[in-house]
């Protein structure tokens, strides 16, 4: 979102809005939403097309690159999009600054922690450590 040094002060404010930041966040939310349009549809279609949903079938499905890679992307982009979205909700409705910062920090920790846990489980499935 950089406008370069040639931009006038007015031009910078017009480009970035009164908050002076957030353009990047707004764009990221849209780009991740388009990725999730594909990945979410992929997950539901896959679950419908698998011959069964027992542990052995799912393990086999997520061990192959065709299952593991989109699932890893779904986890990473899904948690990122959730964090970006929840931040908008918190910023809009939590007016006390301390509470807002605390809640946003908690959400960041939850998203990073949850995403790491999901990726670890997926790695264990994909690389054969799983039963």
């Amino acid at each position: 979102m950089s406008l370069g040094d040639s931009a006038t002060p007015l031009g910078k404010v017009r480009g970035l809005g009164s908050a002076r930041e957030g353009g990047e966040h707004w764009l990221t939310e849209r780009v991740t939403s388009i990725a999730l349009l594909f990945l979410g549809t992929w997950l539901i279609a896959s679950l419908l097309l698998l011959p069964s949903l027992d542990q052995r079938t799912l393990l086999e499905w997520l061990s192959a690159p065709s299952g593991a890679v989109p699932m890893a992307l779904l986890v990473i982009i899904g948690f990122r999009h959730a964090l970006d979205g929840m931040k908008v909700v918190v910023d809009d409705y939590v007016h006390v600054e301390g509470n807002r910062v605390a809640l946003n920090t908690l959400l960041l920790f939850l998203a990073v922690g949850g995403g790491a846990l999901a990726l670890f489980a997926l790695a264990r499935i994909a690389f054969g450590g799983a039963a």
Binding site: I44, L48, D54, L58, L62, G85, V89, A118, I125, A131
Partner: protein, 131 residues
């Protein structure tokens, strides 16, 4: 700025007559929050269960196929499709299109009709017809 007379303020949510566009806008946030918290928690738990083996997975399946578990899963399926369809609506509106009253209202209603129809079709198939 000597004038201190009461200036008109922008009216808040409670004063407007409810319409489909408002409902869909609020639903977008509610379904987003539900998917962020419950949806990602269940996705992570499901991946962990698969990685831990048949016993842990049986525990997951038992809870997921319990009536309460089914209600949660059906609810999240609807939330996913509602958020997806109204997300598409927002992407269209981000381009500056579909702000005219008629088409905006129609588009809003379509997201609700679409999400309910797809969710119903999917779960009727899963519960009644899936081999």
């Amino acid at each position: 700025m000597a004038a201190t007379k009461q200036r008109p303020l922008s009216p808040h949510l409670t004063i407007w007559r409810w319409g489909p566009h408002m409902a869909v806008s609020i639903l977008h946030r509610l379904t987003g929050a539900a998917l962020s918290i419950a949806g990602l928690a269940i996705l992570t738990w499901w991946l962990v269960a698969i990685s831990q083996g048949p016993d842990a997975f049986a525990q997951f399946t038992k809870l997921a196929s319990h009536p309460v578990g089914l209600v949660v899963l059906i609810g999240l399926t609807w939330a996913f499709f509602q958020h997806l369809l109204s997300g598409i609506r927002h992407l269209v509106m981000d381009t500056g299109a579909a702000f005219e009253l008629g088409i905006n209202k129609t588009f809003a209603i379509l997201t609700i009709v679409g999400s309910i129809a797809v969710t119903a079709a999917l779960w009727v198939y899963v519960l009644e017809f899936r081999p």
